[in-house]
């Protein structure tokens, strides 16, 4: 039995995406036992693993690490980071380590930092493959040695065990290589003996930070409290809220299967989970089931190869196409806003920025983006105006600035700062070994 729920502060969906100092303070005051965040994803392609580079820029990652390391040191709680440097390869991890060491020096603290490497030796993988210990994940066929050879880096996706080992060894900060998002967030609670189904499910709900809240664009993080038979989730921003719909709907997000999640040492099944409001901003979830299975680790490999340097962008969405001028103007205005924020520029004339930024003829009437409609940040969707809302309004293109989701449209769009410094993309098979 736990003395009380284990509280994990999840400051953001991805390290470098923008942790907020006030939210972190709120979570610490609420009694957080650890801070945990993911720092990567495969979503933006294989280049980051192949090249060992980060997608989030150094300044953003350093900024977030500064906020989190300062808070963790002051509260004397661990800071846990998984899938460092976007891909979690050894180079990505070393890059993140250097930033953390720099931040520690600047803050005048001397944390004990654990580094969890997970790149795999090719000869070992070939031997395991020959012994039938590596099996393909559908829809892939059998793994060939040639595919292993074609990879520059191959990682095995970790579960919570190395994190628990590091915590037990007294680490103040853990920087992990490639890890499932959920394992990073669940590790501390699992170590403390919290309900396994609740710990894994809470971690899944919190993996994208405030994505599981009613207003994902208005805040960055959430606090999960994991107990003996369930968990609670609430936004770190006091003005935001979670409701049963926002929390349960997150299981749908970027999963092929909304009920079952396969992890390195077992399977989470939320088919019978119940989502109930505790008050108007906190949701309690129970009934999540964890079933241990033989241990497997997914392999992800990537190598440089043929690549394309031109991207032609097409939009199929009929709602966007019917108002494409408005979309253009809003996107341009959103990009100005983001550029201004990033570079700390004053608000000067749109026209001059336009000419400077785009370098191509463009309209001089760029408008500011209209206020964002909360909860509708996903560009890649088609919301139909419903009569139930009491008035008809035509759907309008979402403003790309406010989306914090990993599926956000801005990552897809080359008109923003390109996430591909060197667009080398060739995916190597990802397989599961046992």
């Amino acid at each position: 039995m736990l003395d009380g729920p284990i509280k994990i502060l999840v400051p953001t969906g991805s390290l470098g995406a923008g942790a907020r100092e006030d939210e972190v303070r709120h979570g610490i005051v609420a009694g957080a036992h650890a801070i945990a965040t993911d720092a990567g994803s495969t979503d933006s392609g294989a280049a980051y693993l192949a090249l060992g580079i980060s997608k989030n820029n150094r300044g953003s990652v350093k900024r977030d690490l500064t906020i989190l390391m300062k808070a963790a040191a002051a509260a004397k709680i661990p800071l846990i980071v998984g899938t460092s440097g976007q891909a979690g390869g050894d180079l990505n991890l070393d890059w993140t380590r250097d930033i953390a060491v720099e931040v520690a020096a600047e803050l005048g603290i001397q944390p004990k930092i654990a580094l969890l490497y997970c790149e795999q030796d090719k000869a070992l993988l070939k031997a395991r493959n020959a012994a039938g210990k590596i099996r393909p994940l559908p829809p892939l066929g059998p793994l060939e040695d040639a595919s292993i050879d074609a990879c520059d880096h191959i990682v095995a996706v970790m579960g919570p065990e190395p994190y628990i080992a590091a915590l037990r060894a007294g680490a103040d900060i853990i920087l992990g290589g490639r890890t499932t998002d959920t394992a990073v967030l669940a590790s501390f609670a699992l170590m403390k003996g919290a309900h396994a189904g609740a710990a894994w499910h809470a971690a899944k709900v919190a993996e994208c930070g405030a994505q599981c809240t009613v207003q994902p664009s208005g805040s960055a993080g959430v606090l999960i409290s994991i107990g003996d038979d369930g968990f609670q989730v609430e936004p770190l921003n006091p003005k935001n809220r979670c409701d049963p719909h926002s929390v349960s709907a997150h299981m749908l997000y970027e999963n092929a299967n909304p009920f079952v999640l396969t992890e390195p040492g077992g399977v989470l099944d939320v088919t019978d989970a119940r989502y109930l409001p505790v008050d108007d901003r906190v949701v309690r979830v129970s009934g999540s089931v964890w079933t241990p299975k033989p241990y497997t680790m997914k392999l992800e490999g990537a190598g440089g190869g043929r690549y394309q340097t031109i991207m032609l962008i097409g939009i199929q969405d009929p709602d966007v196409l019917s108002r494409v001028d408005e979309f253009h103007d809003r996107m341009l205005a959103a990009l100005y806003e983001r550029t201004r924020k990033t570079m700390g520029l004053r608000d000067t004339s749109s026209t001059s920025r336009c000419a400077y930024m785009a370098g191509t003829p463009c309209r001089a009437t760029a408008r500011r983006p209209a206020p964002h409609r909360p909860g509708k940040s996903a560009f890649c969707s088609w919301p139909r105006p419903t009569a139930r809302r009491g008035r008809r309004r035509s759907p309008r293109p979402a403003t790309p600035t406010s989306s914090t989701s990993p599926s956000s449209w801005t990552r897809n769009c080359p008109a923003t700062a390109s996430p591909f410094p060197r667009p080398t993309l060739i995916a190597a098979p990802s397989t599961s070994s046992s």
Partner: protein, 103 residues
């Protein structure tokens, strides 16, 4: 008049689910539409074969009654980010479903 999918849903979206799968979320507009259409044969594996070239055996369907929605996922015919990539996050794939005729 023909009823199309966009007439009975309040929200339709698509997204990659890892490098090898695409997933669609069809949120029906109210319990009646969910009950009537979530299992409609026009939304079966053949549709995804016809529209996206998917292997019908690798099309998965998950009704979620609590959210009045159905999730449909299929295995992509080429990996995310490969040399023939056309939609990195599959964010535009839902468009082809909007005008699927239901009755």
């Amino acid at each position: 008049m023909t009823t199309m999918l966009k007439d009975v849903c309040r929200h339709i979206r698509s997204k990659n689910a890892g490098p090898y799968w695409v997933t669609f979320d069809l949120f029906f507009d109210g319990p009646e539409n969910f009950a009537k259409y979530h299992d409609h044969p026009a939304l079966g594996p053949d549709l995804f074969h016809r529209l996206f070239g998917a292997d019908p055996a690798l099309v998965q369907r998950f009704p979620v009654p609590g959210l009045e929605m159905i999730k449909i996922s299929y295995a992509r015919t080429s990996a995310q980010g490969g040399v023939v990539e056309r939609d990195m996050h599959c964010g535009q794939q839902f468009v082809r479903l909007l005008d699927v005729a239901l009755d």
